[in-house]
Amino acid sequence: MGEIGQLAATADALRRRRPDLLARLAQDHPDLGLAITLQRPLGSGEEIAPKRGGTQALAEVAMAEAKEDLSDLLDFLARRTRLLGRIRLLIGISSAVASASVVGLLIGEGRGTTLAAVVAFTTTLIGLVMSYIEDFSGGSGSTAKLRDAMLRELRRLVEARSELAIGIATDDDAKIVAALKLVNEVFGEVQAARGQLGLPV
């Protein structure tokens, strides 16, 4: 990939979101070395210096898609966070009912034992479900951490957008390449988060 380095994360994200755009970019700008299908060359091969037109086109497409991808992921994380919050609330309510039923057992001299046991068991089951959901995405509190991390990536994307705009305005290739690398990093983090959450990558 020459001076712009490897853009695997960008290519993967475009392949997942907009394979048509990726195919068009690969066709119009072969100097970018974008692969339409998933490939991972294990060596450098022949290096072709990318041209200005290719990097700018890729940066613009990647910028727009990164924003959409990040938004989708943040929406998902928001839904997941809400779900976990509701489950946590349900556990709290169930725990309260279970505690109350213990008090009821003491007062009612043992009547309602089955009901109290069922409530306690249900509370445990709900707790297990929540643990599973959180463990699956990286452990306790991981969803909130991922959301914070993706919000940071959103800020970096804004920086990259400014960098690209300045690069185009001042005709500065270095700034365009820097913006492209930054977007690639954002895509990389998004891909890592999606992998952690079990979403398609």
Partner: protein, 604 residues
């Protein structure tokens, strides 16, 4: 030999007059025969050639005529002279031509109709002569008693070299070809089961991780830092380890999404780490072989294709099949020997700059030559075992035994006294001389005394247990346990050859039958006595033990057979027991609940 002092020169070729010994060589021109040479063909032809009459040089051209009629041509090299014997297809009726000049031989062989084969020894010791012939005869082959193959010239490390085109997509050096039998041993089944693919892939490259995981499943582990790589290489103990990663020069390099280098590790260093774990290393990365050979420009291979080949190769039965599978996906491989004589395979890109489809892969069969044909490795292992490991194990065991006995309540003083008494008893010394031991004996007793005591106690306990419980069963089942010298023909006809014939002792381990029988008999007794729980438990133990042992023996995992069999037997015995109990309790509870509801309804 009257011509032994003469020199064979010509065409820039000089053969020195060093005595190479009797190099017996063979070149067969099979005018119409295209089938592979039979095993032992080389030996038989050489023998026939020796019997043939020797004539002077100058009749080489007649070879063409002889060969065209279906004869074979044998070449024999003695000192400086090269003799060619033409042998008629029907026997040894032929003549030998003695060539003093290399040009004569080359010219003569160029006239032979059909393929020409040289013996591997001749090509190894006279590579320039073989290259000369190969230039005239592009279809030149090499032959030994096990078969033959075509030769070709390839560039290796910037120099032309003769390689054997052993199989499609797989070339070999002459040394490697001579030892190709090692690659045809059934090693891959065990190796593949212990394969580990270390993929150097950044966490941001989730697409590649998912693809590798889908192809390799549990075999793949991902590393994204130097620390993780070191740890995973350290864990690779006696495995087939494939390292997949991006290669720059002679290093594996991992860059993150920001193009920053996060891992940089030399390929040679990784090889050393893999060798330390006595594993077999397979480096999968671009340019590995090319850089080793220092040849030409590079092409790239794809990680996903390479891993697909790894997954497919895992089903191979021999290293040869494994290499051919890899070669089919990543491009031609070349097998050679390293300075220690170990077989390794590199990409054919290493040797053939113009035929580099996907250049890279390097397989080092560091431990594959475990066959008796590798005495150096075997000798070193034995020496290491004798001089280092065994004494070390003895010292540690001795100290541990002292400690264990003390913890079990036997004071060191008592242990020491008993050790001396046993020692004196074993040597037949009188009782009063128990303490009369030399310094050497004292040192040995300190080390070995407690071990001897424990061993003796164990033996006694085992014998007592066997006498009390298994003796009777053993006597009854003895004819079933394997071939015995006391087996008579009547026994054989009664029990059948399955149990008493050759190799019967390998069919069912004696101990398995004994223990299974020991469990089965009281199980039946318990069942008859009405104690169903205990009866079923013991029956499950017996059945599980037998099944597990037989299954594991079929897999040839004898080392693990007994511990695993015990574990499986215990599991198979206890789990159904508990399940029966649970089902019974659940049924009781449900019956009570239904009965209660019915009673309440009828009461209302």
């Amino acid at each position: 030999m009257i011509l032994s002092s003469m020199h064979l020169t010509g065409g820039g070729l000089t053969v020195s007059s060093r005595i190479y010994g009797w190099l017996l060589a063979f070149a067969a021109a099979l005018a119409f025969a295209t089938s592979p040479a039979a095993a032992g063909l080389l030996s038989s032809l050489i023998k026939a050639g020796e019997k043939a009459a020797v004539k002077k040089a100058g009749h080489a051209a007649r070879l063409a005529g002889v060969a065209a009629k279906g004869a074979k041509v044998a070449v024999r090299v003695e000192g400086d002279a090269v003799a060619v014997t033409a042998i008629a297809a029907g026997g040894v009726a032929g003549s030998t031509y003695l060539f003093l000049h290399a040009d004569d031989l080359v010219r003569a062989l160029s006239l032979v109709d059909g393929p020409v084969y040289l013996p591997v020894e001749l090509v190894r010791r006279r590579p320039r002569l073989a290259a000369e012939i190969l230039e005239k005869r592009p279809d030149l082959g090499v032959i030994d008693d096990a078969g033959e193959a075509r030769l070709s010239i390839a560039r290796r490390a910037g120099r032309p070299a003769i390689v054997v085109e052993a199989y499609p997509g797989l070339t070999m050096s002459l040394d490697a070809w001579a030892r190709r039998g090692l690659l045809q041993q059934s090693l891959m089944r065990d190796l593949a089961a212990r394969m580990r693919v270390i993929a150097i892939v950044d966490r941001t490259d989730q697409a590649q991780r998912a693809a590798l995981k889908a192809r390799l499943g549990k075999f793949v582990v991902f590393v994204e830092s130097e620390t993780q790589l070191t740890r995973e290489l350290g864990r690779a103990d006696r495995r087939l380890v494939a390292v997949v990663g991006h290669v720059e020069g002679m290093e594996f390099v991992l860059r993150d999404a920001g193009d920053r280098v996060v891992v940089r590790r030399g390929i040679d260093g990784i090889h050393s780490d893999i060798d330390k774990g006595e594993s077999i290393g397979l480096m999968v990365g671009c340019d590995v072989a090319c850089n080793v050979g220092g040849s030409g420009p590079t092409r790239v291979i794809d990680a996903l294709r390479a891993t697909e080949a790894l997954a497919a190769g895992a089903a191979a039965s021999t290293p040869l099949e494994f290499l051919r599978t890899i070669a089919a996906a990543t491009g031609p491989l070349h097998v050679e020997t390293d300075v220690y004589g170990r077989l390794r395979a590199v990409s054919a890109a290493n040797v053939r700059a113009g035929d580099r489809m996907y250049g890279l892969s390097r397989v080092l069969f560091a431990r594959a030559p475990r066959a008796p044909t590798d005495p150096i490795v075997a000798g070193r292992e034995a020496l290491n075992l004798l001089l280092v490991e065994a004494p070390l194990a003895l010292i540690v065991s001795g100290l541990a035994t002292w400690l264990t006995l003390t913890m079990l309540g036997v004071p060191p003083r008592k242990t020491w006294r008993l050790s001396k008494e046993h020692y004196a008893c074993a040597l037949g010394r009188p009782e009063q001389d128990v303490d009369a031991i030399s310094a050497t004996e004292r040192a040995l007793l300190l080390l070995l005394g407690p071990i001897g005591m424990v061993a003796r106690t164990c033996v006694k306990l085992t014998l007592a247990f066997a006498n009390a419980t298994l003796g009777v069963l053993g006597t009854l089942l003895m004819p079933l346990l394997g071939k015995s010298e006391q087996v008579t023909d009547a026994d054989l006809s009664f029990y059948g050859a399955r149990w008493l014939g050759e190799g019967a002792e390998r069919r069912v381990p004696a101990a398995a039958v004994l223990v299974a029988g020991a469990a089965a008999v009281p199980a039946l007794a318990a069942l008859i006595a009405g104690q169903a729980d205990r009866g079923w438990l013991l029956l499950f133990v017996a059945a599980g033990l037998l099944v597990a042992t037989l299954a594991l023996r079929r897999e040839r995992r004898l080392v693990y057979a007994w511990p695993t069999a015990t574990a499986l037997a215990t599991a198979s015995a206890t789990l159904p027991f508990f399940m029966i109990e649970w089902i019974r309790q659940a049924a009781t509870a449900m019956t009570s609940w239904i009965g209660g509801r019915l009673w309440a309804r009828s009461a209302n």
